[in-house]
Amino acid sequence: MNKVPIISIRGLVTQFGKQVIHDHLELDILQGEIFGIVGGSGAGKSVLMGAILGLVPIKKGKITVLGMHAGSLENITRQHLQSHWGVLFQGGALFSSLTVGENIQVPMKDMEHMPEELAREMAFIKLKMVGLQESDFFKYPSELSGGMIKRAALARALAVDPEILFLDEPTAGLDPISAAAFDDLILTLRDTLNLTVVMVTHDLDSIKRLCDRVAVLVDKHAIVGTLKSLLNNDHAWIREYFHGIRGRVALAELME
């Protein structure tokens, strides 16, 4: 794995009103790695992702994605970047007026102008790749269960084989079997397509299986390291997080 940072964040400050979310946060995400972001509720995980994606205005600092200045909301850069990344939102964010099949085809047709028939076939392939049934192709998002919405949204995020995949709580709300299958899928995709995956998650099993490195958001900063190195970190919140009851069960073998 080469060590080129694909996303680099320097001195990021974001704030809503007077509430500062990130205070000069520094972060590098390398090409081809699966990068986890964890943190307590309200620590600014989703805001960080939003800042990288240009959805949240940043107060100070610089975010570079694929060598391009992101977070600037400049139209040309954004359009260019958007074809390089896929985003899975926490609630799926499928377009409720389109069927699942049409949802998956949106990035293919509207961004890459793929021929109609090919787009339909590709949408079908992606649909099955994420473990949905053929019959789901013609269903509307309101007819799907929570887990199916996640999968359909992942299929849309993967529609044009992006280089970077952003996942916001991908396994939350999935049953353990689906969650494990989801992890498998992410791993295979990373290995075959050389994807870079940035995931916000609380699922310690997923973190253990997938993440090469993890950033813990505490005190408005990011503490980055491999899972092993973070286990030995002395910060109170990090100790509580990894050494609490849930952490001990999930990460037992690593702690030996």
């Binding site: 007026s97 293919m108 793929m114 339909r120 076939e121």
Partner: protein, 381 residues
């Protein structure tokens, strides 16, 4: 950014005796699919010998769409009876292909489409059935409201007074400026047009009768009802609809609180209380508007205008307008709450319900107004 020129997908074709070698090169991914697809279609259109070879050695980069395109082409060639050989597949190609393999789309299912006529027929049938269900549901809902109101009469403590008052403020007080403005301008227009026509008969002084009677009996209340249906009815539908999507309505039910008591009755009650008051304001504003026009163009003094209005209008005429108001308020409230509760899951259905709420509200109000006009003229008011 990238130099696209060198990455354009191409297929070099080498013909040898009794076999053709295809050498795809360049980038084969989702971004170049629009260029790559015609290349594959071209191959399929050609007359080719039996033995074909795809040499993938020069393929720079592929992703799932690229692999699928090549795979699909190979499959269709094989289906035509050619013998196809894949050479020099790299690791990425193989892994992607192995992931694709179980996912071949079932073409028959994908191409299933109804004919135009069939589609229209199905649509017509669906709309008719929907309409019948809509009427049934509306009647059911009306029944539920009646029961709810009845229960509130039996146990007045069920009534949410604070919520009702806050709705009165939002639906009534906050609507005052727009209602007055609309009514003044309508009074002006009525007076202006009426005066132009009546002047031909030298009866322009009867403009005052025309304005005052039409404003008090019909125009004031109708314009108020239309405004309230558009302003408040849509807001009620959208709010209740979103609450349904957020499962707030379910939450109320599980907490043992009835959405009828908490959401619906306060809103309908507020509308029933507010509508006569708004109608009164609208009446006065309409008379003021008409008065301004009459005073300026007919050279009538304000005192005389008020006097003539008093002569033209009977108390009966005034009450006809005001008494219709609570009924119209109830119609708008019932329809908008009903449409709000019918919202299902999607953002689109909020939009559709809100539109229906306004359209049905205005339609039913106008219908009721027509029926009432006949009724009042029959009993001679």
């Amino acid at each position: 950014m990238e130099k696209m020129t060198s990455h354009i997908p191409k297929i070099d074709i080498f013909s040898q005796k009794e076999m053709v070698i295809f050498k795809p090169n360049g980038l084969w991914n989702a971004k170049t699919a629009k260029v790559a697809e015609p290349l594959c279609t071209n191959i399929l259109a050609k007359a080719l010998p039996n033995h074909l070879v795809f040499d993938l050695a020069e393929l720079q980069q592929v992703d799932t769409s690229g692999v699928w395109l090549l795979h699909r082409t190979v499959q269709e060639l094989e289906y035509k009876g050619h013998q196809v050989e894949l050479r020099n597949q790299n690791r990425v190609f193989q892994t992607l292909l192995s992931r694709l393999d179980p996912y071949k789309p079932a073409f028959e299912k994908m191409h299933q489409r109804r004919s135009f006529f069939e589609e229209r027929l199905v649509e017509f049938g669906k709309t008719s059935v929907d309409l019948v269900f809509l009427i049934r549901d509306l009647i059911t809902f009306l029944g539920q409201i009646t029961v709810g109101v009845f229960l509130t009469f039996l146990q007045p403590c069920r009534l949410r007074i604070i919520s009702t008052i806050s709705h009165i403020e939002r639906f009534g007080v906050n609507a005052l400026p727009i209602v007055s403005l609309m009514s003044i301008s309508l009074g002006l227009v009525l007076a202006y047009q009426g005066e132009e026509q009546l002047r031909r008969f030298g009866a322009e002084i009867y403009t005052i009768n025309l304005v005052s009677i039409s404003v008090l009996r019909e125009v004031g209340i109708l314009i108020t009802a239309i405004l309230v249906a558009g302003r408040t009815g849509s807001a009620i539908t959208a709010q209740i609809g979103i609450m349904k999507i957020n499962q707030e309505v379910d939450a109320l039910n599980t907490l043992g609180l009835s959405p009828m008591d908490i959401l619906i009755i306060p809103r309908i009650l507020a509308l029933v209380i507010v509508m006569p008051l708004l109608a009164f304001v609208s009446d006065i504003a309409g008379l003021v508007g008409g008065g301004i026009m009459v005073i300026f163009s007919l050279d009538v003094s304000p005192q005389l205008y008020i006097h003539r209005v008093g002569e033209a209008v009977t108390m009966g005429g005034f009450w006809v307008g005001i008494l219709k108001a609570p009924l119209f308020g109830a119609i708008i409230g019932v329809v908008s709450c009903f449409e709000g509760m019918r919202v299902t899951g999607t953002a689109e259905s909020v939009g559709a319900s809100t539109t229906r709420s306004v359209v049905e509200g205005i339609f039913l109000v106008t219908l009721a107004d027509a029926l009432l006009s006949i009724f009042f003229s029959q009993i001679g008011i």
